[in-house]
């Protein structure tokens, strides 16, 4: 019934046996104990579960763990490097881009995907790119500022 998968999460290789129907988000949260990735809905609307799979943002509630076999996954826990916050994490903190924090990991990783594709987005482009991520606390105002902050910082670094 269970099948073996090998998934690299935040640089670490994990080999586990899972039910074929197990969702990637449950694999991360319940099998690996990485609870930074959240579940907010059943219909792939809210984006709380967004992680990077082979560098691209995916809703991990819509991916089976077996589909991630052989993939590289980055979750919010793996974004900071050597104790240094990623500019997006820093931006969300600086600009008060979060309140309850529940949507934040997915929001940050969706924004990460955007900035890879478009390092200098307009506010409108940021809002459009994040339309698959719901935030119920901030009204998105400061999330847009946070992403802009990160974009500027990444451009300076690059």
């Amino acid at each position: 019934m269970k099948v073996p998968v090998t998934v690299t999460v935040n640089g670490q290789v994990y080999q586990r046996e899972v039910e074929p129907r197990m969702l990637l988000v449950h694999f991360l949260r319940e099998v690996l104990g990485l609870t930074g990735t959240h579940v907010g809905c059943d219909t792939s609307q809210c984006g709380a579960c967004v992680v990077l799979m082979d560098g691209k943002a995916v809703k991990s509630c819509t991916v089976f763990a077996v589909q991630a076999d052989g993939a590289q996954i980055t979750t919010i826990e793996g974004l900071a490097r050597n104790g240094q916050l990623h500019p997006l994490q820093e931006g969300f903190w600086e600009m008060h881009g979060l309140q309850c924090g529940f949507c934040t990991p997915g929001m940050i990783l969706a924004a990460y995907d955007l900035l890879q594709r478009n390092p200098n987005p307009t506010d409108e482009e940021i809002r459009h790119a994040l339309e698959g991520n719901y935030c119920r606390c901030t009204g998105y105002h400061n999330i847009v500022r946070a992403v802009r902050y990160a974009a500027e910082k990444l451009r300076v670094q690059a």
Binding site: H26, H38, G40, D42, A80, L98, C103, I108, G139, N142
Partner: protein, 784 residues
């Protein structure tokens, strides 16, 4: 007091854990031997339960137990209580699981406990329930019609209560001598809160100590404990510990005692293993308490000069199938009392009929009664201004309560403590460049483009609330707040607050207050909340009460700490206590600032008690319970500017300006964030959101695919400003800021759209103002 922190836009201290994925929400927790609960919910809005067959589910591998409502009741479990009683109100029982009948879609009929989440959900589908479907009614007005299916035998006409406020005869008289009147029928549609973290509960029972621990998504863990222990499960209160860790948004929906946490706590003892339940979003839609759902007829009367003579309001409030914890208070004392708005209105009469329907229970959702009142008042003000051909800003200004009339007694019970409404209006008009904008509106209309300017001059009563007052109005609780301040021997400080943060930033804002008062670095202050095992009994967070009530409780405790510390310092300095001053964390004799004892030195001595004032107890901690003297009354003006595309009916928000007065601001960053989020939810109601029930009381909008929450690209950037009129009756001078945006934004947005549509002669469209509704209204207007 040196204000090194108060008023500073500090970054939040709670954020590092959230931006790195180290927050701890209930569903993140696990325990050895943990098992999972899945709820079996009714697909019918109204049905008799003929039989429940557990066998197939029990035979499913991995299933541990299946329980029904009958099992719970037979073991002595009682009804979930209602925490606010109105005279003559009908109070039918509400068991955690239905026993004989189901009364709304989603009501729980059984629970399956299994070794993992997937197995529990599989087995829940194997529970066979035989239903005899019965006719159902979802609409509040239809439920009142003769022959409507009754939700409860106790209320055959579906009326839970009839409530009124104000002077009926005086108001009728005002309308008789009015120069002009306007009347409007408004639907304030039902909303579904949708905190992004679904509700969750995990419970553990220890048979050796007979103690329970419940982790639950709660805005008020002590209230959860009290209601569950004393009323439902009969657990001695001291044997139940309730922990509400990081909570992913509440907006009211996590105040109430729900069936699920009760079931999980009870089941943990039955199966002898810890049990966890986490709502799927589909469950949130049918089981989180909904908000609003009013049908209202409202009228306004003015004299020849356009001064308001009176207001008359009649509302049907849909309460859903059962009375949720604070349900009766929301459409009554949090609604009717706010109908005076910012205006001098000599007489108001409001009557409210609370109605049972076969729908999910309705209770407080961000703003709770006050957005509904503001919507009524501000729609009436706009309609009257249009009726009189006056500018809506000037019509409001003319009717404002002037600053010299405070404290102001309204005809609907509240006494406003302070206000300067014109100040906020002027600031908002200036920000929006009003005159130029009106000119531009005229110009664009000639080109067939329709922009609209909408106002909302709102008042809010929050900082809930003086205990004796709410007690006299039916509250079954006091609404004070607690704070325990514990100074450790090294001078570090832990504050245990009865408030609960689920996004509001108390860990930062409260620490700012403490660090200032004690003159210590903010890093030396820790704020603890959300655990009945460590925090003194507290009432929690809702009704924008944390800063004015919770913050004031902390200030009281800090005063006690400083008084005692001064005694110790005086002894150490060999000085008279009254000669010792405390400044910037140092105690010194007046005039001799270079001979001092630091707060940390005094704290250490409090615990050593070697060189110590005779008769003084060792230790340095203090607890307080602060009961507010009045509500606080934030106010402000919000202006929304929209453009409506007449070909598609789509609304685009061009600008949104908010000028709020919440008194002194502890942390502008946090306060602005609260306003942003509030506005987003208010706009959500105006343009997007709405629960849809069909004629069989099926909830059609039961997922995020079907229920439109505002997305990033639905909203504009917000322009935020404020005025400062300190609250005169609490030690911090603060009011509440958490709900202002939601209270104001709905009316401002709808008024803006109606202003845009004025050239078509369109007077009113009910929310949400979807492109389809607007397009249809334009087509109808063009055809006429």
């Amino acid at each position: 007091m040196a204000t090194r922190y108060f008023g500073v836009a500090m970054k939040r201290r709670e954020d590092p854990r959230f931006i790195t994925g180290r927050g701890t929400y209930v569903d993140d927790l696990t325990l050895p031997g943990l098992v999972y609960a899945a709820m079996v919910r009714s697909p019918h809005a109204h049905a008799r339960i003929k039989a429940i067959h557990k066998e197939k589910a029990l035979q499913h591998p991995g299933v541990i137990a299946v329980f029904t409502g009958k099992d719970m009741v037979e073991s002595g479990v009682k009804s979930l209580p209602c925490g606010w009683l109105l005279p003559g109100m009908k109070l039918p029982p509400h068991y955690p699981m239905a026993v004989d009948k189901v009364r709304h879609v989603g009501e729980i009929v059984a629970v399956v406990i299994a070794q993992d989440r997937y197995t529990a959900e599989d087995a829940a589908e194997l529970v066979e329930v035989e239903y005899e479907p019965l006719p159902a009614v979802a609409d509040g007005a239809k439920a009142l019609q003769p022959g409507a299916p009754a939700v409860h035998d106790e209320a055959p006409d579906n009326v839970c209560f009839r409530w009124s406020i104000g002077d009926r005869e005086k108001t009728d008289e005002a309308f008789r001598r009015a120069h002009r009147t306007v009347k409007v029928e408004l639907v304030n549609q039902r909303l579904i809160p949708n905190a992004i973290e679904p509700r969750a509960a995990m419970a553990q029972y220890n048979p050796a100590t007979d103690e329970y621990t419940l982790w639950v998504t709660s805005q008020n863990p002590h209230v959860h404990r009290l209601l569950m222990a004393a009323f439902v499960l009969g657990i001695p209160e001291h044997k139940l510990r309730v922990i509400s860790p990081d909570v992913g948004g509440g907006f009211g929906s996590k105040i109430f005692l729900y069936p699920e946490e009760t079931i999980v706590t009870w089941a943990a003892k039955q199966v002898g293993r810890p049990v966890k339940w986490t709502a799927r979003r589909r469950e949130s839609f049918v089981s989180d308490a909904h908000g609003r759902d009013h049908i209202t007829e409202a009228e306004l009367a003015v004299d020849e000069k356009g001064k308001i003579l009176g207001m008359r309001v009649k509302t049907i409030a849909n309460l859903g199938a059962y009375l949720s914890t604070f349900a009766p208070a929301i459409p009554t004392y949090l609604y009717g009392t706010l109908l005076s708005g910012q205006y001098e209105i000599p007489t108001i009469y409001c009557e409210v009929t609370g109605v049972f329907t076969h729908t999910t229970p309705v209770d407080a959702y961000r703003g709770a009664g006050r957005p509904e009142a503001t919507y009524v008042v501000e729609r009436l003000m706009d309609l009257m201004a249009r009726e009189l051909g006056e500018d809506p800003a000037e019509f409001r200004r003319k009717n404002f309560i002037p600053p010299d009339k405070f404290p102001y007694q309204t005809p609907v019970a509240l006494q406003y403590d302070s206000g300067n409404y014109e100040g906020a209006l002027n600031k908002a008009l200036e920000a929006i460049n009003y005159k130029e904008l009106r000119r531009r509106q005229e110009e664009l209309r000639k080109q067939g483009r329709y922009i609209g300017i909408g106002f909302s001059c709102y008042i809010e009563a929050c900082g809930i609330a003086p205990s004796q007052v709410v007690g006299s109005l039916g509250a079954q609780a006091g609404l004070w707040e607690s704070a325990l301040v514990r100074v450790h021997p090294t001078g570090k400080v832990t504050v245990y607050t009865g408030s609960h943060t689920h996004g509001q930033g108390h860990e930062t804002a409260f620490a700012q207050i403490v660090a200032d008062e004690l003159g210590i670095p903010i890093e030396d202050v820790e704020i603890v909340h959300g655990d009945t095992g460590s925090v003194p009994f507290g009432m929690g967070t809702y009704g924008s009460r944390s800063a004015p009530v919770g913050g004031s409780a902390i200030v009281l405790s800090l005063q006690k700490i400083k008084e005692k510390a001064r005694k110790i310092a005086a002894h150490l300095l060999e000085a008279a206590e009254e000669d010792v001053v405390f400044e910037d964390g140092k105690f010194y004799v007046k005039g001799v600032p270079d001979r001092f004892k630091t707060f940390q030195e005094v704290a250490l001595q409090a615990y050593l008690a070697h060189n110590y004032p005779p008769g003084l107890e060792p230790g340095l901690e203090a607890s307080s319970f602060y009961d507010p003297k009045n509500f606080t009354f934030p106010f402000g003006t919000h202006i929304c500017v929209v453009e409506v595309d007449p070909e598609t009916g789509k609304v685009k928000i061009l600008r949104y300006v908010a000028v709020d007065d919440a008194g002194r601001i502890i942390n502008p960053l946090i306060a602005e964030g609260q306003v942003h989020g509030g506005i987003a939810q208010g706009i959500g109601q105006a343009l997007l959101e709405g629960a849809i029930y069909d004629e069989n009381a099926q909830l059609l909008s039961a997922s995020l695919l079907d229920y439109a929450l505002p997305r990033a690209d639905d909203l504009p950037a917000f322009e935020i400003d404020h005025t400062v009129t300190p609250c005169p009756h609490n030690p911090l001078g603060v009011k509440g800021i958490g709900e202002t945006g939601t209270i104001a934004a709905t009316a401002a947005t709808v008024n803006a759209v109606m202003d845009a549509l004025a050239p078509f002669g369109i007077r009113h469209i009910d929310m949400p103002l979807t492109p389809e509704k607007i397009w249809r209204a334009i087509q109808a207007a063009r055809a006429a």
